[in-house]
């Protein structure tokens, strides 16, 4: 009975932003599945683009924010920035995982192989490793200020590494399709697909903002709980 009430309580707490983000994602997939033309050569497999591309977009945005707030933390020493970096890194890692799962699923029917050592695949894989290291590092340092400083340093040098991995693997070899959306001439997709892709980017961005806000709130509450515990002891 009590558990039921608290569950209800918790359910009531779901924010407007959460409802909006989830509704946007659902709307995008209804459009993607029922109202967007099927690609001629790739068939239904191409639909995975509407998960793959926005997830990659959010991952890059999340890691970009980690680098930015890491610099701000070292500069201003405000613990708020450290907690934002923590939240954004975890969410970015989650979306990178989505990219790494959907990518091979799409590559198998289209390229004929789950994995190739192409520039962007390799980059994504190593980006995933960098931020796995980031999350593990955070867990391996007990002192709060030290954890914040260490992870800020890693957040900065990690972001600086990404262009180097990209360039070196690019010279090594590349197979990935060239950009289809952000390129000088008109997008090489039919307008209906472009609209779906763009709206999936928007929906995932809202999803990211919601997740970031809630994860940040959780971090703040955890720190507050740890402080009150250490005060009590």
């Amino acid at each position: 009975m009590y558990a039921g009430v608290s569950l209800l309580n918790r359910a009531m707490k779901i924010s407007k932003l959460a409802v909006f983000a989830l509704a946007a994602v659902v709307a995008v997939y209804i459009r993607a599945i029922f109202f967007t033309p099927i690609e001629l050569r790739q068939g239904l497999a191409q639909k995975i683009l509407y998960i793959h591309a926005p997830a990659a977009w959010v991952a890059f945005m999340a890691f970009g924010l980690v680098a930015l707030v890491s610099i701000l933390y070292l500069w201003l020493k405000d613990p708020k920035f450290d907690l934002i970096a923590e939240s954004s890194a975890e969410i970015g890692l989650m979306f990178t995982t989505v990219v790494l799962i959907t990518g091979p699923l799409w590559a198998k029917p289209v390229w004929g192989t789950y994995w190739t050592w192409d520039a962007r695949l390799t980059l994504t894989l190593f980006m995933w490793f960098i931020y796995v290291g980031y999350v593990i590092l955070r867990g391996a340092v007990d002192d709060k200020a030290m954890r914040a400083r260490y992870s800020a340093v890693l957040g900065i040098v990690g972001a600086a590494l990404i262009p180097f991995i990209h360039v070196s693997v690019y010279i090594f070899r590349t197979l990935h399709p060239q950009p289809v959306l952000m390129k000088p001439d008109a997008p090489s997709m039919p307008p209906a697909m472009t609209v779906t892709l763009l709206s999936s980017l928007v929906a995932f961005t809202v999803l990211y903002i919601w997740l970031l806000r809630d994860r940040y709130k959780l971090a703040v509450e955890r720190e507050a709980a740890a402080d009150s515990l250490s005060l009590g002891a």
């Binding site: 290291g133 593990i136 391996a140 260490y150 800020a152 340093v153 991995i165 360039v167 010279i171």
Partner: protein
């Protein structure tokens, strides 16, 4: 008690002798130096000079102990011999195999050196003395990096000829360019590795975390170094490796500058 007496007598003796000669004794000079130190935190030794002193200290420890360098060299050669059996020698020629083996073994051998770098300060908390010294924080990083660089170069000085000998590699006059690649790549490995070594020793997972953090950062170096080594060993024109060498140079510059800049933030209290 006894020691204090001896110290007193030595002190008075030196004071007497300096009164006679009109010069400062070493002990007095040392006292004056300590007084000056308390007045200002800013160093009388420049950043590079301090880095050099720290590097010399580390290398002296390594030279006297020798067990670390011996085991790191044996590890590298052992790795080289072990890798030989990982491929079918009739299917893959050793010239094709060697560059990859070389750089995989070096990145792991480098990790051994890097783990020692700050680990050696840990048991007696000698790092606290370094931090209390009136020197720029950057010079601790630069000194440690310099010592690591020399340490890894010594490993390579022995294991590269061993690889050439064991894999029966044709050199094709590639020695100067090979040295350049080794120097550039080692610089990059050490620059980022030293930073992570300083971090990892203070964590609960030190031995695990150093490779976990460092290896993604070794990826561009291993790609560029292994590919340009392959180009040189196969006797192809050096120009083919130009793009890789440019990436290595850029990586070194960015890594050294960035790591020197962020290192002081690791230890800020």
């Amino acid at each position: 008690m006894r020691q204090a007496e001896i110290r007193e007598s030595v002190l008075s003796a030196t004071e007497r002798s300096s009164a006679e000669t009109g010069e400062l004794s070493d002990v007095q000079r040392g006292n004056r130096y300590n007084d000056a130190r308390q007045v200002s935190r800013h160093s009388e030794v420049g950043m590079l000079r301090a880095a050099w002193i720290i590097a010399a200290k580390d290398l002296k420890i390594e030279y006297r102990e020798r067990s670390a360098i011996v085991s790191a060299v044996s590890f590298s050669i052992l790795g080289i011999t072990l890798f030989f059996f990982a491929w079918d020698p009739t299917g893959v020629s050793s010239v094709d195999l060697a560059p990859g083996v070389l750089w995989v073994v070096f990145s792991f051998g480098g990790l051994l050196a890097l783990h020692r770098s700050f680990g050696v300060e840990q048991p007696t908390r000698a790092i606290d003395a370094l931090l209390a010294a009136p020197i720029e924080r950057e010079s601790i990083y630069l000194g440690k990096a310099l010592a690591n660089f020399v340490f890894v170069l010594v490993i390579q000085l022995i294991s590269v000829p061993a690889l050439i000998l064991l894999y029966n590699l044709p050199l094709n006059g590639a020695v100067p360019m090979l040295c350049l690649v080794i120097g550039l790549a080692t610089l990059g490995l050490i620059a980022v590795g030293t930073l992570f070594s300083a971090m990892a020793v203070n964590t609960r997972l030190a031995e695990l975390l150093l490779p976990l953090l460092s290896l993604p950062f070794f990826v561009p170096i291993v790609i560029c170094a292994a590919q340009s080594t392959a180009i040189m060993l196969s006797g192809r024109p050096v120009l083919e490796a130009a793009a890789y060498l440019k990436v290595l140079v850029a990586y070194d510059v960015v890594a050294i500058v960035l790591c020197t800049l962020v290192y002081p933030y690791l230890i800020e209290q």
